[in-house]
């Protein structure tokens, strides 16, 4: 479908927020789902790019994407202006399974641009069970690359920051901050973790939650072509009985239970 660009603003050194007039996706999207976007208008680059949905508002009929310019596709996307239309497929994939009751403490862990889907998730948590017992760990390489800090704060949860270089918040990897946070909790509480970030970070998060027997959902990243489950490009290695199988990030994912995924 062709969707009109409503707003397109630079929100970080390499990050952009894009708002689209998208009544159906705005109504149907679940946090963790993605859209598949044709960024350019020529054969080079050829393929669509997948972007997590950053926010969706059924009432206004708008969705937002938050992305980082990483290559030629995203560089072309960054040149698109309000008033133009974008060719978009979606929403696609399986999103996060939201907590049904407010009895569990929630921990959302975001690394870099991966705050994108977790903000949408946080908004849904705020709208349903509320963010009173939710903690957000937001990480980036350096202070200027931290994203959505105010937006998360406005939802009412406990926001903690980490930067690799120590320029804001905790100095070091977010997985270390996560471990320290978990150490500080009183035992016996139910806690669910939701994480999105680079695959090495997710592996670290999965290791921590496994060691503590915590439930954890992660949103994965994979090189993708079709986005609809046909091409089998976006393979994620998961447990299958005593063995393994490759499943599709675009169809069975991008959100998986952390303990399903086999890290290489």
């Amino acid at each position: 479908m062709k969707l009109a660009i409503i707003e397109h603003v630079k929100v970080g050194p390499r990050s952009w927020r894009l708002e689209l007039d998208a009544p159906e996706p705005a109504r149907d999207s679940v946090p963790g789902q993605f859209v598949h976007v044709l960024c350019g208008s020529s054969y080079d680059p050829l393929l669509r790019r997948p972007f997590s949905i950053h926010d969706a508002d059924a009432e206004s009929g708008r969705i937002r994407l938050l992305y980082e310019v990483r290559g030629r596709g995203t560089a072309l996307l960054a040149e698109r202006c309000p008033g133009e239309t974008l060719d978009v497929l979606g929403p696609l994939g399986q999103g996060f399974r939201l907590p049904e009751t407010s009895d569990a403490r929630l921990l959302l862990v975001a690394g870099g641009i991966a705050v994108a889907p977790l903000y949408f998730l946080a908004r849904r948590i705020a709208d349903t069970v509320g963010c009173a017992r939710t903690t957000f760990l937001i990480a980036a390489r350096t202070k200027s690359m931290l994203l959505c800090v105010e937006e998360f704060s406005s939802l009412g949860g406990d926001v903690r920051l980490a930067t690799d270089d120590g320029s804001a918040g905790y100095s070091g990897f977010v997985t270390r901050l996560m471990s320290e946070y978990l150490e500080g909790l009183t035992g016996g509480e139910k806690l669910i973790v939701f994480a999105c970030g680079p695959m090495p970070m997710l592996e670290g998060v999965a290791g921590i939650t496994k060691a503590r027997g915590l439930k954890c959902q992660i949103s994965t990243e994979a090189k993708m072509a079709c986005g609809v489950g046909a091409c089998m490009s976006c393979a994620i290695k998961v447990r299958a009985g005593d063995s393994f199988e490759y499943v599709r990030a675009c169809r069975e994912g991008p959100v998986f239970d952390a303990d399903e995924v086999i890290w290489e």
């Binding site: 044709l38 054969y43 080079d44 680059p45 050829l46 393929l47 669509r48 060719d87 497929l89 994979a222 090189k223 993708m224 072509a225 079709c226 986005g227 609809v228 489950g229 046909a230 091409c231 089998m232 490009s233 976006c234 393979a235 994620i236 290695k237 393994f244 199988e245 490759y246 169809r251 290489e264």
Partner: protein
């Protein structure tokens, strides 16, 4: 809508409402694209390569984008022929009853190809078999059968004996002389030939100094390969009497017209599906417009008509 009969074709007994199929490996088993395109408007659906037993495929990364194309090394991940017969074909029969389904058959040995063909013989909803002797991404079988005329002949002969369905070998471009391969197929009972499969290539990440594909090499597809595909279709169409199905980098109706002019009797649209799920349907529409604009009454009038 115009009178679309000028697009109807019969390719080795498979009747299609238009000569634009979706290529193997780019359209899953149809269902994946069911929400995005009206499957009933396709000329035919060629399924993902299907083997006797389920195959796990290659580790990721499985693709790398390249200028005007992409490399893939999926490794023919599929659930095996029984799942195809019990689940995928019945779904297609109910969702797209008017669209012929051609099953792409993969194997590691001659016997495996023949056994898959045998299992599919007489299965309702299967219109033909495309023989994948050209996949560059599996260790055994695949391309090994497609780069040696004697082995090609062996596979085609074995499949021919195992089924009454039309047999359509899909040729690899990774050969010295494509005509030799085409003749080997035609001489051993192939009913049609499709070409080309992907071209073997690789991609390297300069920053990390690593290969972009876990499999190191992969198959190149997309508009980048069209000139090669077009040349090979032209060569093969002149050399054999059986129908030729042109595949390779077709993105637009104009691309498709070029393949017909080179001698293709039908075409397949592959990588374009990833960019635009309606690509094949739009190409069929565009072909009809082209024929009307040039005063042709039927698509066959432009087959091999390049001067």
């Amino acid at each position: 809508m115009n009178d679309r009969s000028r697009l109807a074709v019969n390719i080795c007994g498979i009747r299609m409402k238009n000569p634009v199929m979706v290529a193997s490996g780019t359209f899953g088993f149809g269902k994946e694209y069911g929400d995005f395109v009206d499957l009933n408007q396709l000329g035919a659906i060629v399924t993902k390569g299907t083997s006797l037993e389920p195959w796990q495929g290659n580790p990721p990364d499985r693709i790398a984008e390249t200028p005007a194309g992409m490399l893939n090394a999926i490794g023919l991940q599929n659930d095996g022929v029984e799942s195809l017969i019990n689940e995928k074909i019945p779904w297609l029969r109910s969702a797209a009853p008017d669209v012929p389904v051609i099953v792409n058959v993969a194997g590691k040995t001659v016997d495996e190809y023949a056994e898959v063909a045998r299992r599919l013989d007489g299965v309702e909803g299967v219109a033909g078999l495309e023989i994948n002797i050209s996949c560059p991404n599996v260790k055994e079988g695949g391309i090994a059968f497609g780069t040696d005329p004697a082995m090609t002949a062996q596979v085609v002969r074995a499949v021919r004996k195992a089924t009454r369905l039309p047999v359509i070998p899909k040729l690899s471009p990774n050969v010295t002389d494509i005509v030799l391969m085409a003749r080997a197929c035609a001489d051993t009972g192939a009913d049609a030939i499709s070409l080309i499969n992907t071209l073997l290539g690789t991609a390297i990440d300069a920053e990390s100094r690593t290969f972009k594909l876990a499999n190191i090499t992969g198959g190149l597809s997309g508009p980048a390969i069209k000139p090669i595909a077009l040349r090979m279709v032209w060569q093969v169409a002149q050399a054999v009497d059986i129908p030729v199905i042109g595949v390779g980098g077709i993105m637009t109706a104009e691309d498709a017209v070029e393949f017909f002019l080179a001698g293709a009797d039908a075409v397949q649209v592959g990588t374009a599906n990833f960019v635009n799920p309606s690509a094949a349907v739009e190409i069929a529409d565009g072909l009809d417009t082209y024929l009307e604009r040039h005063g042709f009454k039927h698509i066959s009038e432009i087959v091999g008509a390049v001067e």
